[in-house]
């Protein structure tokens, strides 16, 4: 549990100490700013249109990253995130097609509940079957993606225009899109109360060291279960975000988000061994990952390089993180 919070370094002041205590809050945003600067440099006519493209493209990925982050912090992994996004996406599209705005909002509450229920199913199986979480969520992922195809056999459905404009529209100025507001709001509404509560502490505790947490009287099973429920909830927000930005439900859309979301989480400073990381890093990393193909189009470079660059970036960031930890350990 101690490793969740780095030791206080007395005498070190201001931003340096803040950066060390909250690497996700400083590193990734700086990285994003650098990327944005590069983008503007290679594409001087960067406008609010591009900012909107970025926010719309990044929202579902950012929520997939958020879903993965909660589970990984608790020491688990969820390979069904993409499929849960697909199910909630097609469920929303199929039910909202002929609904009015008010009904669509009510239906999204229902879809969120179903997302949480799918997460709960993941959690129950992981906790009670004692089968490794990789196997369980890979399998449930197959089941959810089959369910998505049963709900909508091919892309279709829809939602009322006013509902879609919550994500695709803009807010106050054309630079601030609904997708950005919605992302920040949903992550803040779900994550901040959790993080401030006892549950937040317990998530980090079981992720750092399950045995130590258990000996300290933590209900490890209940905490793991709740992590998966939160993962399902974030996935459902992602599914609703996906319909807001595309206007339809697509049963196969989710498959891209499982691994990309995991990549964003790792890039955002979440340790795959659990217990470390926050929510800001992964969400901002989703923006960085969305900017890569955009920059390649502006530079007119074969977009297949995007995968190479994304992979290289993750390796470099993970290595840099390891180096920092190593240096810190030597100093002690």
């Amino acid at each position: 549990m101690t490793s969740a919070n780095p030791p206080h370094d007395a005498g070190r002041a201001g931003l340096g100490r803040f950066a060390q205590r909250h690497p996700g809050l400083v590193g990734m945003p700086l990285f994003l700013l650098l990327f944005l600067a590069v983008t503007v440099a290679i594409h001087p006519s960067y406008s609010s249109f591009d900012a909107q493209s970025l926010a719309m493209g990044a929202m579902p990925l950012a929520l997939a990253a958020a879903a993965q982050t909660v589970v990984v912090i608790s020491g688990g992994i969820d390979l069904s995130v993409g499929s849960m996004i697909a199910v909630t996406n097609v469920l929303a599209a199929a039910t909202m097609e002929h609904a009015n705005f008010g009904q669509a909002v009510l239906l999204s509450v229902l879809v969120l509940a179903i997302g949480a229920a799918m997460g709960a199913a993941n959690g129950l199986i992981v906790v009670y079957s004692r089968v490794p979480d990789v196997v369980v969520t890979l399998t449930t992922g197959f089941i959810w993606s089959g369910v998505a195809l049963l709900i909508l056999e091919k892309p279709g459905g829809g939602a009322p225009d006013r509902f879609l404009s919550l994500g695709a529209g803009t807010f106050a100025t054309p630079w601030i899109s609904g997708a950005l507001i919605l992302l920040i709001a949903s992550v803040a509404i779900i994550w901040i109360p959790v993080q401030r509560s006892r549950l937040g502490l317990l998530l980090y505790a079981i992720g750092s060291d399950k045995a130590a947490a258990f000996r300290s009287g933590v209900n490890v099973e209940r905490t793991r279960f709740l992590a998966y429920v939160l993962g399902g909830l974030f996935s459902a927000v992602g599914g609703i975000g996906l319909i807001m930005t595309t206007g339809i439900g697509s049963p196969l859309a989710g498959v891209y988000y499982t691994l990309s979301g995991l990549a964003a989480a790792v890039l955002g400073g979440v340790s795959l061994s659990g217990g470390r990381g926050g929510m800001v890093g992964p969400v901002v990393a989703a923006y960085v990952l969305t900017l890569i193909p955009t920059d390649l189009i502006f530079l007119n470079i074969d977009p297949n390089f995007g995968q190479v660059i994304q992979g290289t970036l993750i390796v470099l960031v993970v290595m840099a993180g390891g180096l920092v930890a190593l240096l810190r350990a030597r100093k002690r």
Binding site: A37, A41, D50, S53, I297, I301, P303
Partner: protein, 349 residues
């Protein structure tokens, strides 16, 4: 060289002025910038589609640059790619749509910026966009009719379809059924989904051959040369086979004619990409074009000289057997097969 620029940009970020470069879309002397959006990579047919766009761009002499947005994805990724192409200042967008309806809002935005948008291979519902695609209902109907005629209007046939739930498969099946209505003495003894996978189709025909059912003819949705191979390895007398314009099947069409094979090839050219560009360039030079162009597939059989001549003219021993043969779609394309094979657009070395 472009890679060097990228590295320089990554290294120096905002400080580097040289990263700006020329603004796309402002090409000189009537030259156009073309954006291409494709969301299925690693597929032979799609690769050739992109090559045909590059070849037509080069052959037309009216295109200064192609901006390629090419990655695996769904509607969400394609919307992002199309928005980026709009922002990159292209004059023409050629896209193979991942969805009929989802791209409408972004296509509307492109049209508002006076970009000519052509959807190829599959349709989009956005009014104002042009659609150029192969007529898949006719693909199923024409090939099946040629087969039933070759059988003398009666006999047992096998229908080897593509992927369940895919529009092209549903359309081809509809065409197959239309042909069947005209030939009441033809009986379908088996109908299977090959998934357009060579291995799966190969196994299915082996099972059918082993089942003892009498089969007088085989209609396929493109898993073709594997059927002929299965007949060869089972040492069974050939029956007439309908395939696509795939290189391996064309080879059999030519070489196994003397061994008693009747092969019927139905064209489904990936050159719809290049044809879409040809259509767009025509519009920009002031021509009137219909909003929707359905290309009727051509049917060739090795039973006559016309079919054999065609087969010999398109067959290329250097091309992979599962790749479609290279061909243009006049009058929309003007490139040579060599240009399509080279797969180089303007400015590419």
């Amino acid at each position: 060289m472009k890679k060097d620029i990228l590295y320089a940009c990554l290294a120096f970020g905002a400080m580097t002025v040289a990263c700006g470069g020329p603004v796309p879309g402002l090409a000189a002397d009537g030259q156009y910038v073309v954006g291409v959006s494709n969301t299925l990579i690693g597929n032979g047919w799609r690769e050739e589609m992109v090559c045909s766009i590059k070849a037509e761009a080069l052959a037309s002499g009216k295109v200064s640059k192609i901006v390629l947005a090419n990655r695996n994805g769904g509607p969400s990724e394609q919307i992002a790619d199309l928005r980026n192409l709009i922002s990159a200042g292209v004059d023409i967008i050629i896209l193979n749509p991942s969805d009929r309806k989802a791209l409408d809002p972004v296509i509307k935005q492109a049209l508002a910026k006076h970009i000519v948008v052509v959807a190829v291979d599959q349709a989009v519902s956005a009014p104002g966009a042009y659609v150029l695609s192969n007529d898949q209902v006719a693909y199923g109907r024409e090939g099946a009719e040629a087969l039933f005629k070759a059988l003398g209007g009666k006999g047992n046939v096998v229908e080897m379809r593509g992927i369940d739930g895919v529009p092209a498969d549903a359309d081809r099946h509809e065409g197959f059924e239309q042909a069947l209505k005209k030939y009441p003495n033809v009986k379908v003894v088996a109908s299977v989904f090959t998934g357009w996978s060579p291995d799966k189709g190969s196994q299915q025909i082996k099972d059918l051959l082993g089942s003892g059912k009498r089969i007088d003819g085989v209609w396929t949705s493109g898993i073709d040369s594997m059927i002929v191979d299965a007949y060869k390895s089972a040492n069974v007398k050939f029956v007439p086979v309908v395939g696509a314009d795939n290189n391996g099947f064309i080879a059999q069409m030519i070489n196994d004619k003397d061994n008693g094979l009747t092969a019927i090839a139905v064209t489904n050219p990936p050159a719809v990409g290049g044809a879409g560009l040809g259509l767009a360039l025509g519009i920009l030079s002031g021509k009137k074009e219909p909003r929707v162009v359905h290309l009727t597939p051509r049917v060739y059989t090795n039973a006559n000289a016309r079919g054999m001549d065609w087969a010999k003219s398109v067959y290329d021993p250097k091309v992979d057997p599962t790749y479609p043969v290279y061909s243009g779609i006049p009058p929309y394309t003007s490139y040579t097969p060599a240009q399509e094979k080279a797969c180089k657009g303007p400015g590419e070395a």
